[in-house]
Amino acid sequence: MSIVTVQLGQCGNQIGFEVFDALFIDSHCPQRLSSKRENEAYQASCKERFFSEEENGVPIARAVLVDMEPKVINQTLSKAAQSGRWKYGQHSSFCQKQGSGNNWAYGYSVHGPRHEESIRNLIQKEVEKCDSLSGFFIIMSMAGGTGSGLGAFVTQNLQDQYSNSLKMNQIIWPYGTGEVIVQNYNSILTLSHLYRSSDALLVHENDAVHKICAKLMNIKQISFSDINQVLAHQLGSVFQPTYSAEGSFHYRRNPLGIDWQIRPPLPGLPSLSKMSLNKELHFNTSIANLLILRGKDVHSADLEGFKDPALYTSWLEPVNAFNVWRTQRAFSKYEKSAALVSNSQFLVKPLDMIVGKAWNMFASKAYVHQYTKFGIEEEDFLDSFALLEQVVASYCTL
């Protein structure tokens, strides 16, 4: 089962490269603890999932690179090629010259329709290379114009074209104190549109990852490279193959196989899901937790803490909400590692903050002319606000 990755914008492409690199390096990491056969099965599964084969043996990432200006894609392609480990397909990228100017409306309403066919063809080609398609992994940021606007458009397209395949969006939540001034507008427009077409939104906050680099890893001068590598590491430990429940030498076929769609008991609410990924436990109420353990002693780990009803909303039994995947094959050079994917209230506060700031700015109509210029009207903003206020409210009542 293969995953096709779509990397959008500067952020998406920079992270995408690090993800593939982390996956490759992990799968080729010398393992002391696992048997040779086990390791080979792992490698084969990882390869099938993320890479396709070329004649001379260099694996090609199952990825489509999209950006509206050329510098980053050019850099990403050469970084991969120069690594000698793996590379991107020669004809897997699409770029333009002008960029999206940090304008969601431009990315969604102008670039989207204009390049719909070209991008669709590229993705189709990549899908055809897969024996069986597990789903799509779309990497994008919320703050800019291409990742956010064009990303929302592309996800919608994928929903129309591949409605049976899973679409998971990896979203980068911008720093609180601004990288882009209109980032809050771009974020609310992105989230509200993705809610309608994506199956799962996997969120990474720049602030949180930055803190990991500073406090846990003690990096003095943190660069985006550092941040992206931490991110890639986290994603790798989630997406690499895991054993299926039977424990046989049979790696779980669908890496996105958990039922992310959870329907709450109250009528009339849309079945939305949203997850956040972090390594620390927060006592936010969860509706789903997935714990992935890799390496030594995975079968003897004590997981009672995860089954505490206090962690979960009152209308769910922990046994229904908590899942654990264990794999003896270690991740990268770590003897033991754990990753937690969580659908909980963790993101309520950041989301609420973004909605609040965007609302304040919208009330003064600042920058709105930049969006109406390209067909995003005030009603579109209001719809987005309404939808997100509902999401916040839903999560708050857990």
Binding site: Q98, G101, L122, G178, H210, W359
Partner: protein, 544 residues
């Protein structure tokens, strides 16, 4: 896609294409000497490169996964001031690219401001889009209604960088009269201006931006320069119009400069996307500051020659005799830094279209205060390099601003920090956190920061910072301008020089004055919110 066959260039154009510091180079003559050694190339191949059809190329890129090229910008320099600044800009741009581009390959970064031309080809077919650099031509249009400055440029070391077909000159000059520049020369040269602009646009694969450089106080830069803006807006509506305007200081020796400036302001209000106001006094103050350091004789204050923000030639004695050269170089540096993240790679790119998207919250409020640091780098290696954080502090000090204003005591609507060199995101964030408390941001944009990180520093520096602020502190400049205008206008002084020009009436003046007053009112309204506490507005309430 067509490529230039390497073998065809038998004698490579080696590094001698770029000048050494202080060296005077004539591009054309050097190449003429080597021409005979090269074997002829199939010109048909080369010709088709230049005629990139924008949409088709995009389509081809999608199918073949080809690497795309970047966008281009065209500089339009108008009047004496505009052309002098422009000249410094081109010199600096060449030096910057020479420092970065060691192999003499015509790459995308260079293509944003320069064409690569095979000078042997007559007519238009000589553009080469890839391969070794043959002859670089500036994407520029030079306009002046007197011949002096443009002639000097054409006889100077940069003469081969300009295409003779890119010039529009006249002999009589505009007599420091906006009406002559705007109405008389505007209509006389309309066709020619259009033609040259179209030509420069055709030479671009994907034109993103026009940079107009001019002064406000005179006749040509002010009048014809702003006439141009209307033409650009009508003819190229999709292309951004960035205007660098030198405002007259209070002691300006041109008596009618307030008239010219106010009349020009109306055009800037209506037809520019973004304006970077500059005043000569600030530039002069910067030079004086550097002078103090240079001549202080303190230990460890020898300055690295190439690093002066004021000097291109690498020696800092010259500028004392020619202060305008030094001042113009500061503005040239501003333009280079503004475009650096669009030309060179970095971990957080910022394209030119992002500048107006982020810094212009309302269409009329598009005046940006700029400040540049560092002004120089010390040469003595025993003196520790300026702490990175000092660079950020300096950017918010009045000493580094290119216009006299007090942003710290006014209201920020938005602020952009464009960093170059070895600076990472954590450095940026740390400094924003540190400086934020002392700055006042408007209530609806409390975190109004736009940032970019470009890996390539300017020549002679390890890092640099350009801060662009949309701040109500520009208001005093405009208020003062209006006052000077009213003092003259009330007495009807010198008005007849303007009114005798066809198309000029008193209404032109009153309209221009009210346009400026409206702008000042906008800033006043925003300033009024400064002291109000920041409150969150009541949110939408939804049914759960």
């Amino acid at each position: 896609m067509v490529t230039v066959r390497r073998s065809a260039l038998a004698q490579p154009c080696d590094g001698k294409l770029f000048p050494e510091p202080g060296e005077v180079l004539s591009y054309g003559s050097d190449l003429r000497q080597r021409r005979d050694l090269r074997s002829p190339r199939p010109l048909g191949e080369l010709r088709s490169c230049a005629r990139g059809i924008q949409r088709r190329r995009g389509f081809l890129s999608a199918l073949s996964g080809q690497r795309c090229s970047m966008t281009q910008s065209v500089i339009v320099q108008v009047g004496q001031c505009g052309n002098q600044i422009g000249c410094c800009f081109w010199d600096l741009a060449l030096r910057e690219h020479a420092a970065v581009n060691q192999k003499g390959i015509y790459d995308e970064a260079i293509s944003s401001f320069f064409r690569n031309v095979d000078t042997r080809v007559v007519g238009d077919g000589g553009s080469i889009s890839k391969g070794k650099i043959c002859s670089l031509k500036a994407r520029a249009v030079l306009i002046d209604m007197e011949e002096g400055v443009v002639n000097e440029i054409l006889q100077g070391p940069l003469r081969d960088v300009f295409d003779s077909k890119q010039l529009i000159t006249d002999i009589s000059g505009s007599g420091n009269n906006w009406a002559v520049g705007h109405k008389v020369f505007g209509s006389r040269y309309q066709e020619e201006i259009l033609e040259k602009l179209r030509k420069s646009a055709e030479h671009c694969d994907c034109l993103q931006c026009f940079f107009v450089i001019h002064s406000m106080g005179g006749g040509t830069g002010s009048g014809l320069g702003t006439y141009l803006l209307k033409v650009l807006e009508d003819e190229f509506p999709e292309v951004y119009r960035f205007v660098t305007s030198v405002y007259p200081s209070g002691e300006d020796d041109v008596i009618t400069s307030p008239y010219n400036s106010i009349l020009a302001m109306k055009e800037l209000n209506e037809h520019a996307d973004c304006v970077l106001p500059i005043d000569n006094q600030s530039l002069f103050d910067i030079i004086s500051k550097i002078d103090l350091v240079v001549n202080s004789g303190k230990l460890g204050t020898t300055i690295k020659p190439k690093s002066l923000v004021t000097s291109s030639a690498g020696t800092f004695k010259k500028w004392q005799e020619k202060p305008f050269d030094a001042m113009n170089n500061i503005v040239a540096n501003l333009l280079l830094s503004l475009t650096s993240s669009a030309r060179f790679e970095g971990s957080l790119n910022m394209d030119l279209n992002e500048i107006s998207m982020n810094l212009v919250p309302f269409p009329q409020l598009h005046y940006l205060v700029s400040s540049l640091t560092p002004l120089y780098t010390l040469a003595d290696v025993n003196v520790p390099p300026r702490r990175l954080d000092q660079m950020f502090s300096d950017a918010f000090s009045k000493d580094h601003q290119l216009i006299r204003a007090d942003p710290k005591h006014s209201l920020y609507l938005a602020c952009a920090l464009m960093v170059r060199g070895n600076v990472q995101i954590s450095d940026l964030r740390r400094n924003i956190e540190r400086l934020k408390p002392s700055l006042r941001f408007v209530s609806w944009n409390q975190e109004g920061w736009k940032t970019s990180l470009c890996s390539v520093p300017p020549v002679g520096h390890s890092h640099s910072l350009l801060a662009l602020a949309n701040n109500t502190c520009v208001k005093p400049t405009f208020v003062e301008l209006r006052e000077r205008f009213l003092r003259l206008y009330k007495k009807k002084a010198h008005l007849h020089h303007y009114l005798q020009i066809e198309g000029m009436e008193e209404s032109c003046f009153t309209e221009a004055e009210s346009s400026l007053s409206a702008l000042i009112r906008e800033y006043n309204q925003l300033d009024a919110t400064k002291s109000r506490p920041v409150e969150d507005l009541p949110r939408l309430s939804v049914a759960v």
